[in-house]
Structure formats: C-alpha cells, structure tokens
Symmetry: C2
Subunit: 215 residues, 2 copies
C-alpha cells in the first residue's frame, strides 16, 4: 500500500468506529461492526489500533483534541489577576462542553461517549487523564492554591477545585435532566450568565475558606 492508502484505511476505520461507538456504546460495538462499516478487515484494525480498546482511545482522543484545540486554555499572564484567570478557566471549560457543531444529535452522542469513558475506570481513562484532564486539574489547583495561599496538593485546594470542576461538569452530565426538569429554563441558558455565576459563587466559596484558614 502507498502511504496515502494507509492513511485512508486508518481514517476510514476511525470514522467507522466513532459511529459504531456512538450508536452502540463501547460495550455494544464490536470489532466486527467497525470492520463492516469501514469495509476493512480485522487484521487492519489490529495493525493500526491493536484492539477494540485502542480504537476506542483513538476515537476519544480525536474528540478531546479537537475540542481542546478549538477552545485553548489561556495561560495566566502577569497582567491577569487570579480572579480573571479563574474566569478564563471556567469560560473555556464551558465552551468545550457547549461546543456547538451544526449537528446537535452528534454533539449529544459525543457527550455521552465522553461521559461513559469518564465514569468507567479503564486504561483508556488513564490515558485521557494523563493527556487532557490532569493538565486542566493542575491549572485549576494552581489558581486556587494561590487564592488560598496553600500548596497545590493541600486537601482544601483539592476540595475547592472539585467544587469548581463539578459545577462546570454538571452542564455536561446534567443537560438531559435539566431539560426534563424544565425545558424553558434550559432555553434561557446563556453561557455568559453561567460563567459569571460559577465564578462569583466559587470566588465567594474560596474566600470563605481562606478566612477560616486565617482565623
């Protein structure tokens, strides 16, 4: 095969796998399904990705890397206050969650794939944590540790970081419930309002903790 053909086969398998996992979930989709959709054979899947886990990681890696390159985290500059850095952090986090393709159904299914991968302990999750989630966690703990005047590994820094991340992630996991609870409320949802709310709510929570530490 020429190099071009090889790239085509790999891309075709990846696109087919994404559809298979979107349709049937990780456990429901089989390598056989993926081969059928890609018009490829099992040997090709094994050659490019090793096994079903390998294809799954490649699919999730593509979703994450696209989202992270479309919405890059601004690194703190000397001019930005810690409050501004936290706002930038929360804004980019929510932009990644609310990233809008033209295809809403596809977005929803990608969100579900990510939710499935994140809630399940697996070697795939460990890779996603290492490449994407751990740098985000470190950035957030760096901002909070400076707001609190504690080291990045202090348990209070972890607790506050989880409070901020949990508020953001709720808009990834909780969308379907929010919609079922009150469809109207969701329609009125505006990313600026949500960012502003989470930042002010969280800064007050962190400030409260700082006062307790100092007293």
């Amino acid at each position: 095969m020429t190099e071009q053909n090889e790239q085509n086969t790999r891309d075709r398998i990846l696109a087919a796998a994404k559809e298979a996992f979107l349709d049937k979930g990780f456990s429901g989709a089989t390598v056989r399904d993926i081969c059928r959709r890609a018009e490829a054979n099992v040997a090709a899947v094994n050659y490019y990705f090793g096994d079903k886990n390998g294809v799954y990681l490649a699919v999730l890696d593509e979703i994450f890397s696209e989202s992270f390159s479309n919405h890059p985290m601004q690194q703190g500059t000397a001019n930005n206050s810690l409050e501004q850095q936290l706002e930038n952090y929360v804004r980019v986090f929510l932009e990644r969650i609310f990233h809008e393709n033209d295809d809403q159904d596809r977005d929803d299914r990608e969100c579900r794939l990510i939710a499935q991968a994140i809630t399940t302990p697996s070697p795939v999750l460990d890779m996603l944590v290492e490449r994407y989630i751990s740098p985000m966690s470190e950035r957030l703990r760096s901002i909070i540790s400076r707001l609190l005047g504690l080291s990045e590994d202090h348990s209070d820094v972890w607790l506050c970081a989880k409070s901020v991340a949990g508020q953001c992630m709720h808009y990834l996991y909780g969308q379907a419930v929010m919609h079922s609870l009150d469809p109207k409320e969701i329609e009125d949802q505006n990313i600026n309002t949500i960012v502003n709310h989470i930042v002010r709510f969280s800064l007050a929570g962190v400030q409260q903790r700082r006062e307790e530490i100092r007293s």
Copy 2:
C-alpha cells in the same frame, strides 16, 4: 401459575436484566440475553415489562428506590435553620452516592448504569426525573429560594441549585477520574469533610448572590 410463581418469574427476569445491563450497558444487552440468564421466554418479559425499555426502567427504579429508602431526606422542621436544612440535604445526597454495599464492584457498576441513564435523554429518564430527581430539585430550590428571598423559579435560584447539585454529583461521575488523578487523595476522602466543605462553600456563594441582589 400461582401468584408466588408469577412473582418469582418477575423477580428472576429483573435480577437477570440487572446483571445484563451491568455487564453490557443498555445498548449492548438484548432481551435474548436477559431471557437466557433468567431462564424465561420473551413472552414473559413482554408480559411483565412490555419491552427492553420497561425492564430497564424497572432495574433503575429498584436501584433508586433502594437508595432513597436507605437514605431518606429529612424534611425541614420548625427547629432547623435553613443552613441545617442545606447540610442535611447535602449529607443525604452524598450518602446516596457513597452508599456502600459489601460488593464494591457492584456499586461501581450501578453508578455507571445511573450515569448512563442520566446523561441520555429518554422516556426512562423522564420517569426517573418525575419519581426521584424532581422532588430532590424542588427541595433544594425551596431551601435556596428562602436563603435568597426569591421565588423557587427565579433563574438565580436555579443557578445556585445547579451549583450545589453539581458539586455533589461530581462524586458520582468523577470518582474514576479522581482516582486516576491521585489515588492517595481519594483514600483520605471522608464524607463528613466533603459535606462540610460543600455546605460552607455553597452558603458563601449563595450569600454573595444575596448581597448582589440587595445592593
């Protein structure tokens, strides 16, 4: 069939379905799988549950109702301050999430089933919202609306309620990521510390919002 036999068949299908969904997820498990595990026929599944959706709802209903009856929400009494009511709310929420069976693997798989059902819009989700999630949401918004002096449907009440619920739910969804980020940090996790943190963090956030409203 006697009434006892009928109950046995229904229970056997339900137990088998729970295992099938735990193993393969909703999309991966088939009615055929469930029948094989239960030693029952498709007609029996249809008779008791209608279809795969019906069995799925019955399985989730069982997990939720067991968790809710083991950890009931204390209703506010005249003696309890709003702060105490919020603490009770957060504590029960986390007890339901951290509910510990003897079988840790089973707990993890039940968490994943719930995560899957919650992130996916479906008639099953609508039923779970109506029976379990909506009463919880109303209770939380009732506490926050009185803390803020706003109606329960005010958008600021919704935003603060999402901030509290998101912090709690993070310990359901984010457990695997937290473990991958720092296993030691998770081992030190104590439900009292987490409840205390979320309540104080959230009361400061709500207080901040109240001051902004009044100024």
